[in-house]
Structures are given as C-alpha cells and as structure tokens.
C-alpha cells in the first residue's frame, strides 16, 4: 500500500532529515514509527500525505508514485488519508463538531450522514458530550482526541498518526491504539509515530525505527 523507494529528504538549508529510506507497508498493516526526537518521523509521515515532497527517491501509494500526482489531484488523494497531526491543527473559530465534520464536508457528504458519522467518531474518543464546545475550551488531551476523531471520521484507507497519545493518560492511550488496530483489521493501513515504549512493546507490532534520518530496524522490503 505504502512503499518507500530509496527516499531522501533534505530541507532547504539543513542536513538530510531522511536518508535512503526503503520499506513497504501492506494493506491493512499496522506499524509503529519510532526514533529519537528529530529522527525524521514527522518528515516521513509528511511525505506520505504530500505536505512535503521527497528530494530523492519515490514514495508509492497503491502502486502509484506520488511524484507523478498532479497538483489538482492532491485534494482527492488526501481524502483517502486520515492524519493525526503532532500539533493537532484544530480550528478555533468553530465547534468541536464542526472540526470533526470538516473532512466529510470537504468530500461533499450529505448533512444527514455527516451528523451521524461525526457523533460516532466523537463517541469513540469519549467526547460526545463536548461536541458544541470550542476547542480552546478543551484540555490538551481532549484536543488531541478531537484530532483523532477527525482523522477517522471519513473512514480513510490510510491512517497516519504523529504522536497521537503524547497528551493522553495510559488507559486512554491503550483505548486509542485499540481503535487504530480495529481500523487496520478492516483493511486500513496504519502508521503511527510514537515515543511510547510501553505501548510499542506491549502491542508487539511491526516497528520502523529511525535514527538520524536512517531506517535502522524494520526495513524489510519484500519484492
């Protein structure tokens, strides 16, 4: 589903954030992306969702190279990806409900469906009672959960999560991971960047480990 082919990324005026990365994730696979702070985890996720472009090499999703995706196609591609951003990226000028509804509205869902789906997603992260609040009036962990609800509300084919449990207590983290796992069981490809050693060791999933921009574990490409 996601395949990196000798990908490097160098930000303007910096050293390589990613160097010569190759790996493949199958449809429905569930993997952790680990590594020290600044190892390149967020950069890797940004490449998959085209927030950044690779400097070298190719990122292939569903067999198609993202380099060859025309600019006008990017929105439609992104609608099939769900992302939990490291810095939440919530909009503070609208309610929690409206924040979560955004991916559905963008794809043109009928209003009736939208309400049903949004409530289901909010229920899953335990925030159904706060749907009318403004995100500023939420705690850090609650904001993070709104971001998680938004990332899954439109049932994406690929789910990327950047440190989704950084502000959550252990029980809640486990529940969220369960949620993600259930997504992978129905065929969604899930890739989660995290520092939470407890979780990664407990769940015993595939782990892609980055160190200084290089993949030091989990790179097995079956080709």
């Amino acid at each position: 589903m996601i395949r990196f082919d000798r990908v490097s990324k160098r930000y303007p005026g910096g050293r390589d954030a990613l160097a010569d990365i190759s790996f493949e994730l199958h449809e429905g696979e569930f993997a952790f992306l680990t590594g020290h702070s600044g190892a390149g985890k967020s950069t890797l996720l940004k490449l998959v969702m085209l927030m950044e472009r690779s400097s070298q090499g190719q990122v292939l999703v569903n067999g198609k190279s993202l380099n060859r995706l025309h600019r006008s196609q990017i929105p439609y591609y992104r609608r099939r990806v769900g992302v939990v951003f490291q810095n939440h990226h919530l909009l503070f000028d609208r309610s929690v409900f409206q924040n979560v509804a955004l991916p559905l509205q963008v794809s043109g869902y009928p209003a009736r469906d939208v309400a049903k789906r949004v409530r289901a997603a909010l229920d899953r992260v335990g925030l159904l009672d706060k749907e009318n609040r403004n995100p500023v009036a939420l705690s850090g962990g609650e904001q993070q959960r709104v971001g998680i609800a938004r990332s899954v509300v439109h049932k994406p084919r690929i789910l990327l999560a950047d440190e989704p449990t950084g502000n959550l207590d252990p029980e809640l983290s486990a529940e969220i991971m369960d949620l993600f796992r259930r997504f992978s069981e129905v065929g969604v490809t899930v890739l989660i960047a995290t520092h939470d050693v407890v979780l990664t060791t407990r769940m015993r999933c595939r782990e892609l480990k980055l160190h200084q921009g290089r993949l030091v574990q989990g790179e097995t490409v079956e080709s």
Binding site: M51, P75, Y76, L102, G108, Y109, R124
Partner: protein
C-alpha cells in the same frame, strides 16, 4: 469509547473502497455548501459587529469617494446643459436697416445649412438684455439714446473644431452684406470653456486614478489582512483534502458581503453628501436665475455601487486567498 461490531467494520471497509456518495448527493451537498457559506460568512461578519463595521466603513469610504466624483461629473454635465454654451456669431446690423431686408436675410440664413438657430434682437431688446446680463445696467440708464444696433445671433449646429472654418467663411460672406455693420465671432468664451474643461478633465482623471487605486488597495488589503487571520483555516482545509475552490468559497462569500454592504453604505454616504450641499447650490443657482438643482444618486447609482463593491470584494478575496494558497503549497 465503544466496541465496534464486526458488521459495522465490514460496512466501513466497503465504504473505504467504494465511491461513497452518488453524484446527485454530491451536487446537493455542493449547493448546500454554497448556501451554508453564504449564511455563515454573513453571520461571522455580524458576530464581530465593531470590527466588521470598521472594515465596512473603510470599504464604504473607499467606494463613496469615486461615487461622489461620479455624481459631481453628472451634475456638472447637467449644469452645463442648463447654461447657454453654444458658440455664437453676433451680426451687428446697420442701425437704420430695414426690417423687411433683415427678415429676408434671416430666411436666407435659416434656409442654409450648419446653423441651429438665427435670432433677431431689436435695438430695444438688445439694450434690455445688455442691462440685465452685463451688470452695467445702471450705466446704461444714464444714456440719453440707445447706442446699440439691432443684432442677429447665429448659433451653429455644433461647436466642433471642424466647424470653426464654416463659421469664418460665413463671417466673411456676411461682412460684405450692405445690411451688416460688423460680425463678431465670439470664441473667447470657448477658449475659457476649453481651459476649464482641460482642468476638470485632468482633475477628474487624477482623482479617478488615485481613487480607483485606492478602492482596489483598500479593499484588497482589508480583505487580505482579514484573511491572513484565518490562515490556519486554509492550511487545515487543504491538509484535509479540500480543493482550492472549497478553500476559497467562504472567503469569496466574505468578500462579496463586505463589498455589497460597503457599496450600500457608500451610496448612503454619497446621498448624504449631496443632500448636505443641495441647498447652498440651489441658492447660488437662483442668483443666476438658473433653476438648476443638484441631482442626487438614484437606483442606477445604487446598483452600480453594489455591483462594483461586490465585484471588487470578490476579486480582492480571490487574490488574497490565491496568494495564501500559493504560499502553503509544497515544492
């Protein structure tokens, strides 16, 4: 947090692969999004009334100034229509010319081409007119005898430069006529008028240029700054898969509302401005026995202002969003 039954999971899977929504549904949602944006952007504008009012006033003032200029031009046109502005040739006849001969000359002139009117002014009429128009009436009452000859006033059909030749030919022709004492082609006021026109033209051009630039800049800048505050919204919607059109829509509606309401306010300002000077203008005109009264802005001006405001608002937000969209694009 709820456990998700397997059935739901299956539905989810098919949902993730299929096309999800029918075209008709999509179109309905698209229209709904338009409606919702139109409403939301208006509500957003009303929800911060002080700040919106400030922005609106700025836009209104920017629109009202050229609006006033336009009304000024219209009024000057109307005024110059009410003033006698045609070029004229004054034919001084011999004081003792026979009225029958004069009538014959007049019919000949009227039969010819190029003249709009031929008017006869007898000696008494000439004295009367002179008294009224010159301001030297008091002097004339001191005269024992009427010093003025009878006069023919010829008005050409147009005052274009090309016709100056025709007038001069006519002048030469008339001067040889035994009935005629002298022919005066009064062109000096034409020069003056042209001088005035040159100034007002440049003034209007300069004002129009500066105001046009001003309106564009003020609206563009105001909307740009208002939008920059919502930069995060653009970023997030793009990241979530919104097309550029989707991103632009709320801002276009905001710009549209700002422009439309600004145009309405501008019309009111122009109206108030005209109202304010209507009375002294009428007073002044009455001194000149001129029934002129200022023309106020009407519904045509209103629709013009609304249209220009809305268009500029749309254009301004389009540009501002395009700029931001360009900035956050990778590569």
């Amino acid at each position: 947090m709820r456990a998700e039954p397997a059935a739901k999971a299956r539905e989810q899977k098919s949902g993730a692969t299929g096309s999800r929504t029918s075209l008709a549904q999509r179109f309905r949602a698209y229209l709904g999004h338009h409606r919702q944006n139109a409403r939301d952007s208006l509500l957003r504008l009303l929800s911060a009334p002080v700040q919106s009012a400030m922005t609106l006033l700025v836009i209104a003032i920017a629109l009202a100034l050229p609006g006033m200029l336009y009304m000024g031009v219209i009024n000057i046109q109307a005024l110059s229509g009410s003033i006698d502005t045609s070029a004229r040739m004054t034919v001084f006849l011999q004081p003792d010319a026979d009225k029958a001969d004069i009538d014959a000359l007049m019919s000949r002139l009227q039969a010819g081409t190029g003249l709009a009117s031929v008017t006869y002014i007898s000696r008494d009429q000439a004295l009367e007119q002179f008294r009224e128009s010159s301001g030297f009436g008091e002097v004339l009452t001191l005269l024992d005898e009427n010093p003025l000859p009878p006069v023919l006033i010829l008005e050409p059909e147009s005052i274009a430069d090309a016709d100056a030749g025709f007038l001069e030919t006519l002048q030469g022709e008339l001067e040889t006529n035994p009935l005629v004492d002298d022919v005066v082609l009064d062109m000096r006021w034409l020069q003056r008028l042209q001088g005035l026109m040159a100034i007002s033209q440049r003034l209007v051009l300069a004002m129009a240029a500066i105001l046009g630039l001003g309106v564009l800049l003020v609206m563009g800048n105001t909307i740009r700054l208002a939008i920059e505050n919502r930069r995060e919204e653009i970023l997030v919607v793009k990241l979530i898969g919104g097309t550029n059109g989707y991103v632009r829509r709320p801002f276009l509606y905001s710009g549209f509302w700002f422009g439309l309401l600004g145009g309405l306010l501008a019309w009111l300002m122009v109206w108030a401005g005209i109202f304010l000077i209507r009375e002294p203008v009428a007073g002044l005109a009455s001194l000149y026995q001129n029934p002129f009264s200022l023309i106020g802005p009407d519904l045509r001006q209103l629709s013009l202002l609304l249209a220009v405001g809305a268009l500029l608002g749309l254009a301004g937000s389009w540009l501002a969003v395009a700029q931001l969209l360009h900035k956050i694009e990778p590569e």
